[in-house]
């Protein structure tokens, strides 16, 4: 049984010019201990899908699906109260802008312990010990004294480590990472990706990696879903994707990589879209 299984997911937004479907008819599943990458450019619906799973979309969004099961529980017909027990505990998410996703008014220790208190009901002493342990796990040196630091006192990479520590605090079964390294420098990106993959293996988590970066896919994923304008273009294991991509869109995407440039001009996806329509 897959850890997360979604069938025929459609997300529509009510706009002033009528209904806009950001995601249409997407099926996806991810197993425990698996790294699934969802790749697409802006407007492909890759983030919206996962926000729908988390229940974080604004009220203008209508989410419909034939099936949305997580770990044997039906996420579609679940009460809000029940959902709150799962979100942040069994399913955790980290976002693109680490500095913006932490609350600037509280110390990182407070924000870490908040999760532990809310979901696990730990007492003060155990919370503190666990918070230190978590910071050490994500590679923050001098963890005990860093607990009293505020987000603005840390670098972007360190803030992302703190976000990861908060996300894995309750040993989630599924971790969703939405462009976790886009705002970071290349050398820091490498550290964060290595950290995510290491934690994923150690904890036996399922990991969904949302990204627009083909290189990040190549470095982390087991299986890949390629999306374009709300539709799934391709689903393949990572090696197939790079050796024998099935869809024309994937081929166009791969050939637009400057790494793969052959002539003195790059092929562009516009050419593909025009050819397809």
């Amino acid at each position: 049984m897959p850890l997360l299984e979604i069938k025929n997911l459609t997300v529509a937004f009510d706009t002033s010019v009528g209904l806009f479907k950001a995601v249409e008819g997407i099926d996806l599943h991810v197993d425990a201990r698996e790294v699934l990458a969802i790749v697409g450019e802006s407007g492909s619906g890759k983030s919206v899908e996962m926000l729908a799973v988390m229940g974080l979309l604004p009220p203008t969004a209508t989410v419909t699906a034939d099936r949305m099961m997580f770990d044997g529980k039906d996420l579609l017909n679940m009460s809000v109260a029940d959902k709150r027990k799962i979100i942040g505990k069994d399913i955790a998410m980290i976002f693109q802008e680490p500095v913006a996703s932490l609350n600037p008014c509280f110390t990182i220790g407070f924000q870490l312990e908040e999760t532990l208190r809310f979901h696990l009901g730990m007492d003060k002493r155990t919370r503190r010990a666990r918070a230190i342990e978590l910071l050490e796990q994500v590679g923050i040196r001098d963890a005990a004294s860093r607990l009293s630091a505020f987000p603005h006192q840390m670098s972007g990479g360190q803030c992302q480590r703190v976000m990861i520590a908060i996300a894995i605090a309750c040993n989630p079964k599924l971790l969703i990472a939405d462009e976790p390294t886009t705002a970071l420098d290349v050398t820091v990106q490498k550290q964060i990706l290595d950290l995510l993959v290491r934690l994923q293996a150690e904890h036996g988590m399922g990991l969904i990696m949302i990204t627009h970066n083909i290189g990040v896919v190549a470095e982390t994923a087991d299986r890949v879903i390629v999306q374009y304008r709300g539709h799934k273009m391709e689903e393949s294991d990572v090696l197939t994707l790079f050796t024998a991509p099935k869809s024309g869109y994937t081929r166009a995407l791969l050939s637009a990589l400057p790494d793969n440039a052959t002539g003195d001009r790059l092929p562009t996806i516009g050419e593909y879209v025009e050819a397809a329509s």
């Binding site: 050398t187 970066n213 990040v216 190549a218 470095e219 090696l239 637009a256 400057p258």
Partner: protein, 277 residues
Amino acid sequence: MTTPVLETRHIVRDYHVGGSLFGGQRTIRAVKDATLSVHKGKTLAIVGESGSGKSTLARILTLIDEPTSGELFIEGEKIDIARQGVSKQLRRKVQMVFQNPYGSLNPRQKIGDVLAEPLAINTDMPASERADRAMAMLKKVGLGTEHFNRYPHMFSGGQRQRIAIARALMLNPSLLVLDEPVSALDLSVQAQILNLLADLQDEFQLTYVFISHDLSVVRYIADDVMVMYLGDVVEQGTREEVFANPRHEYTQALFAATPRADVEHIKARLARRAATA
């Protein structure tokens, strides 16, 4: 040997920070001893992470800031903006394109006016001729005349970057400094903009200083590469030299950290992963 379009000798830039009633002033040396030269029709890429001083150097090259010490030559002429200021004639020679196409265009100014403004400020051209030139430039960067009277919010990120490039080219500059011009763009749009830059370089014999942290883009577009780290120029050479044989530790670390999308690399990673699971 022809005179280089741009040449610097031992450029240093200090910033003074702090210096309040209670705290002592500190000096930060953002750029330490940068010497470079770029010839007509060539592209120099400056690579570095946040805090490397690459944007500070860009501000000096585009005559926004003066260097603390060192010499700057444009088309063989010594420039000292601290003493002489920037003449209109000099301003026409150097133009800049910024990273964020959303932030660098005035939201209340029509595109036609955006493009004509540099002419209005720096030349005595009559309004009708300015409009004609703006129209011609729009076509040159792949937009249509129907875009002339639209506002920036009506354009996508890629189109806005085309507009920013068009504005920079209005004065027929000999040197264009591009600060991360494609890092905010999707892969397919990035390919279009890189192609446009290559086309324009061929047509007008433009000289580019291309600032980037993305090594795959740099490898594609640059003739010469300069790597900066914490204000120091740690590596400098032709693209072939730097990519084939990076000498400095930091350059090597940068290469090692860049995600790779080649099949052998993915196979090796999957094998490692299977071994540890």
